[in-house]
Every structure is written in C-alpha cells, then in structure tokens.
Amino acid sequence: VGIFGNTQQKTLQVVYDGVGGKLGFATGGCS
C-alpha cells in the first residue's frame, strides 16, 4: 500500500469519522 505519513500531515487538521466512513482534511489546523 501507499502510506500518507505524518510529515505530510503537519499543520493539517485531520478528521476521522469512523461511523460516517469519512476522512477529512482542513489546512491551517494547528493555529
């Protein structure tokens, strides 16, 4: 598999919706 690693996730807000079966991203997530 390909893997989306944590360096590339930096500063994004990564949202896991396990019940809805969705994964979300928002830029500028930490500040």
Partner: protein, 416 residues
C-alpha cells in the same frame, strides 16, 4: 508567474526547529482535547528527560523503514496465527530500532484511581492501548513517568482468559491471547521485534477532567522491549473494536481529529468528538483494506507539483491501495508515482545545489548559501475531488541546512 503562484517562499533559518517550545494558539473544545507534542522536541517532557538518546534523522528514517515493512508484512499475511505466552517474549531479541520508536507524537492521559498521568505515543496504525506496568516480569525499558502500579489503583481489574473480550485480542494484535492464572495475556509485536506482553485488563481512563471512561480495556505490559523513547506506552487509534475510538464510541461516535505541529518545537492537539472541527474541512471516503481492516484506507488519485498535475493514472494508486498513518514519518508512493513527483520537483528546484541522499530520501539540497528558498507546492488529491495542499514543512525533511530533502519516498513495487 506560475512559479510565484505555486511555490512556498521559506526562510532558511525557519527550517530548523527552535530549542524552545512555543505553544500553539489554537483553542479547541478543551473538554475533549489533548495537547500533542513531538516525542523528541522541546515541548515534550521526554526530551528534557533523555536528551542524550534522541535519535538522529538517519536513525528515525531507518525506523520508519521498519514500520513500513511491518505494515506491508501485516497486510501480506493472515492474522491470528501466532499464539503468545507471557514467557515467550523474553526470548524475542529486540533490535536497535523500534517501529513505534520512529518519529512519533505523544499525548498525556490519566489512568487508574487515583489518576496517574502517562505520556503515550498516539498511533492510528495500531489498536491496543498499553502501558508498562508493575511488576515487570520480563524486560521493561526506561520511561519518563512512574510505571503504572495496578495494585495501587482501586478501579483496576484483570480480564479473564475464558472471556470473549480476551478472544477479541486476536484481531486487534494479530496474536492469539494466552492465559496466566486465569488472567488474559496479550502480546503485540511491532514488526522489528519491539513488543509488549502482559495482562489484558480494564481500568478507569481519564482523557480530560470531564471525559472519563470506566472499564477501559488496555494492556498492562509486564514485558516490554524496544526504543519507545521514554514514552510509557501507546494509544491505539485504529479501527478494531478494542481501539480507543471504538471503546469510547458511545460518547464520541468514533469521531476524532488531530493536528500535528509544524515543527518539534511547537504543539498540536488530539481531540475527540465533533467539537473544534474546522468548518473548511473537506472529506474523502474511508476505504477498508481487506487484509488489514484496522487500518484507515484512503484513495489517493493524483498529485500535483508546482501547480501541475503529474501525468499518472489514478489506477496506479488504487492497484495497491493507500492508508493514512500517524506513525509513519514519510509518505510512501508507488515507485512510478514517486519517480514522476521527484522528477518534476527536481526540475523546479534546479537552481539549488544538490546534496547527498539521506537514507530513503534521494532528492536533497544544500541551502547554506541562501537566506530564503522557493519550493514548489505539492498537493495530494483524494477520491471525491479533495485536494490537500501539503504545508511547506510537510514537503521538506531537514537534517541540516546543507541537507534538506524532499520528504517523500517510493515503495519497492507499484503493487505494494
């Protein structure tokens, strides 16, 4: 003009992390939020406790290779084939690296009554939450926090080995549980021989002062080996029913989010439930990898570099599938996609002198003669028309200013 619109201008001096921690200003729904810090940065207590043993970047990348091998291996074989006894782990040699010891992020939670604070690695690529426990019956590594003592907690109890809860460990750990004096014995191994073995138990878990969970199932590790960097254990955020999101589903509906800080000298957060999620969030569909259902599968469909979409078919990515993992440092792409990415990146970075490769990173530059640099923007496209622009700090992996590398790598085979 295209260069200006589709590139990051970065002050070279900002590439290296500060030696002082700066706290993020973001105020989240504090009720259910934990602060996230890099294990080896100045915001972490572990850093101040054990500065001498911080791994080099080359070591971190080698550990990352071990983690990726472990993930590929897990997906390549069927689960539940190995029976674990408490005594077995003592005979497993731990190498000088650990999958969970790679460039990971930690949070602090409370366990037991009275509550004891524990700094744990958070990991979306595994399921079981465990911490080192007293008494240590095998090997235990050095950790920053006092080791959890179940005998001093009024809310601790063992899980019986004849219970369905005990049997559910097989899918969460990949190992059939064992039995010791009627207590359920779990064992989890992280691919490069680092491991935790101990009693499967339940205990009160305090995430924040308002978010407390009775009877949280966790591993009370009595035999643990690996370079965990002083962390007291690990929080498993995967999709198995024993993971933390599953065990707290009645409150949070398996909904959580995090932000990893831009550098090891700043902080991020891990938040449970719907609170604090950006209104600008864009969603893609989670997929399931049949051989590893606890991973969070995603569909990458394309990549752009410097505003230009790479000429690669979406089917190249879907051949092997993809996952998102908080514990893997460097994004791995099918080799054909990586070659196209690095080739375009090199073309747009041709004004900068090249530097030696750093471990798995083969596209590196020497910025010593520059005060600022212009780096092409990179976006990853996910199924559903979701474009995710990667932050400048997510495009480059900095060893020193004279060795700054493109922070992507290729798998061995397009079908990996």
């Amino acid at each position: 003009r295209r260069d200006l619109e589709h590139s990051h201008t970065i002050q070279v001096s900002s590439l290296l992390p500060s030696s002082i921690c700066s706290l993020a200003t973001k105020v989240l729904d504090k009720k259910s939020s934990l602060q996230v810090v890099h294990k080896h940065g100045p915001c972490s207590q572990l850093y101040h406790h054990d500065k001498a043993n911080i791994p080099t970047h080359a070591e971190i990348l080698l550990q990352d290779v071990a983690r990726v091998k472990s993930i590929h291996s897990k997906l390549a074989k069927s689960l539940g084939s190995t029976k674990v006894d408490q005594t077995d782990a003592a005979n497993i040699p731990a190498k000088d690296g650990s999958v969970v010891g790679s460039g990971n992020y930690v949070v602090t939670v409370g366990l037991g009554t009275p509550k004891k604070d524990l700094t744990l690695i958070f990991d979306t690529g595994s399921d079981i939450t465990w911490t080192q426990c007293q008494p240590c019956v095998g090997t235990c590594y050095k950790q920053q926090d006092p080791v959890f003592a179940p005998s001093l907690s009024s809310t601790y109890s063992n899980i019986s080995c004849n219970s369905t809860t005990c049997n559910s460990l097989a899918s969460a750990t990949g190992n059939t549980p064992g039995c010791s004096s009627s207590a359920c014995v779990y064992g989890i191994q992280y691919g490069d021989s680092s491991f935790s073995v101990g009693i499967f138990a339940k205990e009160k878990l305090t995430l924040t002062s308002t978010d407390v969970f009775d009877d949280f199932l966790f591993g009370c590790g009595q035999n643990n080996q690996g370079l965990f960097g002083g962390a007291a254990g690990l929080i498993g955020l995967g999709r198995d029913k024993l993971s933390l999101p599953s065990q707290t589903a009645s409150k949070y509906r398996k909904y959580f989010s995090y932000c990893l800080p831009s550098s090891s000298s700043s902080t991020g957060f891990l938040s449970f439930g719907y609170g604090g999620v950006s209104k600008f969030v864009k969603f893609t569909t989670l997929t399931t990898i049949s051989q590893g259902t606890s991973f969070y599968g995603i569909d990458i469909v394309g990549i752009s570099v410097g505003g230009k979409k790479l000429p690669i078919s979406a089917s190249l990515f879907t051949a092997g599938g993809s996952i998102i993992d908080s514990g893997t440092v460097i994004t791995r792409l099918p080799p054909t996609a990586y070659t196209a990415l690095s080739s375009e990146f090199r073309k747009l970075m041709s004004q900068y002198p090249k530097a030696q490769p750093l471990s798995i990173l083969d596209t590196c530059y020497d910025f010593t003669k520059f005060s600022s640099v212009s780096v092409p923007m990179i976006s990853i496209f996910f199924r559903g028309g979701v474009e995710v622009p990667i932050a400048a700090k997510g495009i480059l992996y900095v060893n020193t200013i004279s060795q700054v590398c493109l922070a992507f790598a290729g798998n061995n085979d397009d079908t990996d």
